[in-house]
Amino acid sequence: MNSNSSGPKETGSATLFEASGLKKDFDDGQVLALRGVDFKIAEGEFVAIVGPSGSGKTTLLQMLGALDRPSSGTLKYRGQSLFDLPDPAAYRAHEIGFVFQSFHLLPTFTAVENVEIPMFEDHKPRAERTTRAVDLLKSVGLEQRVNHFPAKLSGGERQRVAIARSVANFPSVLLADEPTGNLDTESAKHVLDLLTSFHRDRHMTLILVTHDMSIARRAARALQMVDGHIVFDGDPAKLSMHPIV
């Protein structure tokens, strides 16, 4: 870790993620996305990952979501290596909820059907899936939009559907990749309020990638990345001392 960082935050809660010497390169080592990253994230934390484009934020998020493997180093989830999981799909289905910048709702499915999609691996009866999906859409204020297709929803509404989908299996961790990047200010605030309320009320660990300093400051902790290194780890209020770009 860079000397500018303040080290992993000690929250007193159990460690959820623990990365050690995490490296990732592409194109036979020509592109170094992560250059030896170390951190710990405790259960229930709200961590913002900030940094300029190409700094390795998304690559790190991919590692946390078990979507990709590192070139070297370790990343543990609850003490178990994420890259030796017997069933990575089960980890993604039950432990992780993803919120994407471009929402990534499936266009041929209604809002409620989109929310049901992660539940297929949960082997719940159809009626139970639908009921739960409708309840989740109500919890994000979309009870009037349950049967609308994504094309008929505003950007903010689409992201709220995506948030409902991300918590469909009541995961322990929410991974949000620039969740407000494609939204107007009002919608962005609404979406951020929703994410923080899930974090607060359901004790979900929230890891959010953002360019927006005002959003990062809502987190309890910020990890700032530059060129594949974590250059700051600490109180987001002190981020102004460490310019993102």
Partner: protein, 368 residues
């Protein structure tokens, strides 16, 4: 929403492409239904014709053609003496061009034998004797040649009187022109030659054993249970092989069509597949989704193909070359076989695209 909804929704997203793919499979399956239906119809039509005449065994020399080759009429005497044979009927049959019809079945039958008994007069009368220069028409043959009682018909160089129209109780019988054996032998220049001997057996006779006995006794011809003489002929086997060969080509085109569609679909949906993986779907579920999509394309393509095949067969049935000669066999078995082939085609076509889908990196979900 069920997993099946997910599968069907993917197919309905690109309606034009799905429709064209369905059409591609349907044409292949229609070819299967039409060609195999006609080919099997040849056997079933002749079998029902034999049954309507009350024939149990046919002694004929089919060789490589669909019409039997003539052999000496004296053969009948050896067969008639065999235990288990209750009656015999000598027949000379050929496919001939009659007036404006390209191919008609002309059947000369031994006067007074059982092969006349099933012919029920619809109009006119039967020939008075075997020497009368008269012919009777099956109802379909009369319709094809537009003949009625009192007309004449030219067979080779002979002009014969149409004295009766009959219902023979079977498609082939109704499509035939029937006259006495000596008259046809004279017209064809095949005196003392017959092309088949129809055999009736006494009740309780082991037909297969009797056929084997006839084969030993009559090396110049071959005995088969009624109907099987067509199915076992080399001519039929060639037709059947050609039908399956042509159908196979059409099916291969269908396979390529579905593979192309599914592959395009997988390439287009790479990120969507990655998102599903990121949301916790297993690769096996993605593979199943693709295979189900292609199987459904096959299934519905098969259903459409069967319908197109039935329409095609109806059109072919009335083609001048086939009219009145055979009734296509479009039984439930053929329909089920055709749909099963279509589903197999679908699944086969989906294997490579499904494998490609399993190679999509879930990390793609975070791109774009």
């Amino acid at each position: 929403m069920t997993f099946f909804d997910v599968v069907t929704r993917s197919l309905t997203r690109r309606r034009l492409r799905t429709s064209l793919t369905l059409l591609g499979i349907a044409v292949g399956i229609a070819a299967v239904v039409a060609l195999i239906g006609l080919s099997r119809g040849l056997v079933s039509s002749w079998t029902s014709g034999m049954k309507s005449r009350g024939t149990d065994i046919v002694v004929a020399n089919m060789r490589g053609s669909l019409t039997p080759k003539p052999f000496p009429a004296s053969t009948r005497d050896r067969i008639a003496r065999l235990p288990g044979v209750s009656a015999t009927c000598m027949i000379l049959v050929d496919l001939m061009s009659i007036e404006n019809a390209e191919l008609m079945i002309v059947s000369g039958r031994e006067w007074g034998c059982f092969a006349w008994d099933n012919l029920k007069l619809v109009s006119g009368r039967m020939p008075n004797d075997q020497n009368e220069r008269a012919v009777i028409f099956g109802t379909a043959a009369a319709d094809i040649l537009k003949k009625k009682v009192g007309d004449t018909v030219q067979i080779e160089t002979e002009e014969l009187a149409v004295v009766g129209i009959v219902n023979g109780g079977a498609f082939v019988e109704n499509g035939s022109l029937v006259l006495s054996l000596p008259l046809l032998q004279q017209i064809m220049g095949n005196q003392n030659q017959v092309s088949a001997i129809d055999v009736r057996v006494t009740p309780g006779t082991d037909i297969q054993r009797l056929c084997a006995e006839i084969d030993r006794l009559v090396p110049e011809a071959h005995a088969d249970p009624a109907g099987e003489h067509i199915a076992g002929s080399e001519g039929y086997r060639v037709i059947n092989a050609m039908s399956w060969g042509t159908s196979l080509l059409a099916v291969v085109v269908g396979v390529l069509g579905v593979t192309n569609t599914m592959l395009m679909s997988v390439f287009e949906r790479k990120q969507e597949i990655a998102i599903l993986l990121a949301l916790g779907w297993r690769q096996s579920r993605i593979v199943r989704m693709i295979l189900w999509e292609s199987a459904l394309l096959g299934f519905f393509g098969g259903i459409i193909g069967v319908l197109l095949g039935i329409i095609g067969v109806q059109l072919l049935k009335h083609a001048p070359a086939l009219r009145g000669m055979l009734e296509p066999d479009l039984g439930a078995n053929l329909m089920l076989e055709a749909v099963a082939i279509a589903v197999f085609v679908g699944v086969l076509s989906g294997l490579y695209p499904a494998w490609r889908s399993s190679r999509v990196a879930p990390s793609l979900a975070l791109h774009g």
